[in-house]
Symmetry: C2
Subunit: 212 residues, 2 copies
């Protein structure tokens, strides 16, 4: 089945292009990265490269799609691996520490791409913003599960905002202590929102009715 082999090979070449572009857009910025830079990383001839992508905007769309898929997988992993919404929100905050080296060097991949595309008035600005939307939606779900139905979206935006600010200043000052301190403050803040699990509270109410 040579055709299926070819098609598999083509798809993996495409994948390699998108992954190389993903890294370069993050590390150097979208505007600065050229076709030649990406082709150089994946060691492709110009002809082979054009077979997969005709414009840098097509690559950008594929990169945003890849990032959205990675984000979705990460959020689903946090949902599956942690039992409580509080622990899941903690995973979000810890992401800043886990990615601290890259954040100090290149900032947040979502925030810096959105900011660049806004300035370029690039039509993909909305698509890139959808990745923030994925985080916002997931965070809102966790705050709702925490029993904060009324202000879940306000809290989601606040937490997303805190994480963006940390990434921005960590990038400007290259200060790991600052990241760790701010993440610890986020954990403290989360605990003030809801010290107990709603399920535990309901159980407590049922088993210990107030004495008359």
């Amino acid at each position: 089945m040579p055709s299926s082999i070819t098609s598999h090979h083509e798809s993996s070449t495409r994948q390699r292009i998108v992954e190389a572009a993903d890294a370069l857009f993050y590390q150097r910025g979208f505007e600065k990265t050229s076709f030649a830079d990406i082709a150089g990383q994946v060691k492709l001839s110009r002809g082979n490269f054009y077979h997969h992508f005709k414009t840098k905007d097509e690559i950008l769309s594929a990169v945003i799609e890849l990032r959205a898929a990675h984000t979705q997988a990460m959020l689903e992993h946090w949902t599956a691996s942690e039992e409580t919404p509080m622990a899941r929100l903690g995973c979000f905050a810890e992401m800043l520490i886990r990615n601290r080296k890259d954040i100090q060097r290149y900032g947040c991949p979502v925030g810096t791409l959105c900011a660049e595309l806004a300035k370029l008035e690039h039509p993909a600005h909305g698509e890139a913003g959808m990745i923030f939307g994925q985080f916002r939606h997931w965070l809102r779900e966790q705050f709702m599960a925490l029993g904060r139905r009324a202000d879940a979206d306000v809290l989601a935006m606040h937490l997303l905002s805190r994480s963006q600010g940390i990434a921005s200043l960590a990038n400007a000052f290259h200060d790991e202590t600052f990241i760790r301190r701010e993440v610890a403050q986020i954990h403290d803040w989360l605990l003030t929102l809801h010290p107990e699990e709603p399920a535990a509270r309901r159980r407590a109410k049922t088993s210990n009715p107030p004495k008359p």
Copy 2:
């Protein structure tokens, strides 16, 4: 005195170039802005332009110098126009509301330039970061005046970080309500730090000694 007229004219041409570049770097980004874009804005011939600046990096240095001078003037204005450190810190927070239109469209001028220069590994990244340093230093002074000597720098970085996060998400979501809500939260947070002015407290202590 024709020479003095010429020199004044030259200096104002230089000033116009730097101001045009300042706006373009903010609105489009540094990498995207070309010599031709800047010359077009100030309606200068290539020769006249090169008389003032030979490279885009020279213009960048002049833009950062201009922004640092504007920042210094703004901070000094806040210091002079407000009597209490709490009111001055309020000015800092209100800046997000005052500049909300530009922030929603182009993000924070300091944060987005720093982020871009970090990715470009541009030697001026440190210079641009000094503008964050100016804010940090001034905020630290206000927190110290508020009687928070021990954690003044931690609080300064926290407030700077909150403002950066707000700018980043306001730019991504174009949401003015979000900006106003987060700024109100910053005012609330400031009040929890120190509900009274130290001077007022001292006066209160002197005039109302505790009854035995």
